[in-house]
Subunit: 253 residues, 2 copies
DNA sequence: GGTCTATGGTGGACTAGACCAGTACGGTCC
DNA sequence: GGACCGTACTGGTCTAGTCCACCATAGACC
């Protein structure tokens, strides 16, 4: 009744000189074995002690890899029984991660593009200053773009970033490089978490025109507040998506 | 310019005989110190070695507590510099966690209630059988309820659970006990993660009647697939929320 | 002034052990 | 047959150390 004996191909020598840490290598091996199907859903993994011997590392190092995979719902463990592969067939590809419009649309198998609607510097309103933790009247760079998928209008996206965090942003060519890689590379702004508020509404007349929809066509209004690891708010985005062409998928815990 | 010296009140002897693990106790101390404001945002924590000495535990145990808090965005660390309190003032209360309608509405400061619309056993459609990983035609218990907040209609919620997972569910009194505590206590179904799909739409005539809205009033259609730790799908919920009274908040990473 | 360098501190990674509570199973006793 | 009990295994927790890359600072040197 026991699972497969020996021959677990994902066990094997690791690269001790690699810049990648040992536990990350073990984690990658297991992830690979899971996604390739070698480790099927609900299959039992070798015990931590067996893995530790198989990889010639300490058990704590194995646990560091297993803990991460458990945290991310690749594995689950039952004390006294063993560690098992979680069944992710359903919770497969959806975007649990923070994604840009470009990544999002690409992952849906469409071609993203955008058209600049407006870009300017504004004074922060009281509310917006509070969100960013700035004094009222602080300068905010606002970039509004029409977002298209396969050349059809899909959303209007209005990004707000404190000018102090990204000086000179207005004069950059956002057609040439992605806003997010620009923020990360040139300004050191690395988003790690975001809070999104989603509501259903009807479009304003301006939105009807840009999105090319009727006044009775429902839209998704999404506002997103993005922070870096220290919790500093780096951007505030207000988007309006066509309800007929877009649905949002999120994963909760 | 250095932070407070000595006198960190959250450091102190732990209960070695407690059923709660040491690292969980340390974690609780730090969380408490953060939420009380004793550890302000961006304040530097004592070093891992100092904490380890202060609590008289091994450094690995301290790290177990810190790692968890970092994972959950209470802390962030800068190698070579120290560990710091993240600024969560913005990403404060929103529901990162899986919540029931009752919890959700309570946390918004309103009084939740519900009215049974329909409860019955149906044959799984091909699509629904696939979602649950069952054969087509498997029995599904379906419970549809009108959900109210402060006695105003807010949503229609239709829960689907494989009958085999919760036998006799139809004959239980859902007014008396929460569906979720019932599922957990009597059937051992503990949801740990969910995938939600959200879209904006217009209500059907039946939905207009139940929610008491016009045909042109946009609604949020949310479908949720809930799984337990092993990845087994335990429930599928389809909800329709009034767009004017409800907005959804989620946190991403 | 500016630049280099040693020093001591920090988090990150890793080791090789230990004890515990829970599980499964085989055997023994009734 | 059924109840009990030891044994061997599992993951969960904890210890007491090591080595490393990175960071700040203070002092020496130019």
């Amino acid at each position: 009744m026991a699972a497969s004996v020996a021959g677990e191909s994902f066990i094997g020598p690791l690269d001790r000189d690699s810049p990648t840490s040992i536990f990350a290598q073990i984690r990658a091996r297991l992830e690979e074995a899971i996604s390739s199907g070698e480790l099927a859903p609900h299959a039992r993994l070798p015990s931590e002690r067996q893995l530790s011997a198989g990889f010639s590392v300490s058990r704590m190092t194995v646990r560091q890899a297993l803990d991460g995979l458990t945290q991310d719902r690749f594995l689950y463990s039952l004390p006294g029984k063993g560690t098992f592969v979680a069944d992710r067939r359903v919770i497969e590809q959806p975007l649990r991660h923070l994604t840009s419009f470009t990544q999002d649309i690409n992952s849906r198998g469409m071609r993203p593009s955008s058209r600049l609607v407006e870009s300017r510097t504004i004074q922060a309103s009281f509310e917006m200053a509070r969100l960013f933790g700035l004094g009222p009247g602080a300068e905010i760079t606002q970039i509004t773009r029409l977002r298209l998928a396969d050349d059809e209008p899909l959303a209007i996206e209005s990004v707000h970033i404190p000018s102090a965090l990204a000086p000179g942003l207005l004069h950059r060519d956002l057609a040439a490089e992605s806003l997010y890689s620009l923020l990360a590379n040139d300004f050191g702004l690395v988003p790690t978490s975001a809070r999104q508020t989603i509501e259903a509404a009807l479009p304003t007349s301006e939105e009807q025109r840009l999105l090319d929809v009727e006044s009775s066509a429902p839209v998704l209004r999404i506002s997103r507040l993005t922070s870096d690891a220290s919790g500093r708010v780096v951007e505030y985005v207000r988007s309006v998506y066509r309800g007929d062409r877009y649905h949002l998928t999120v994963e909760l815990r």
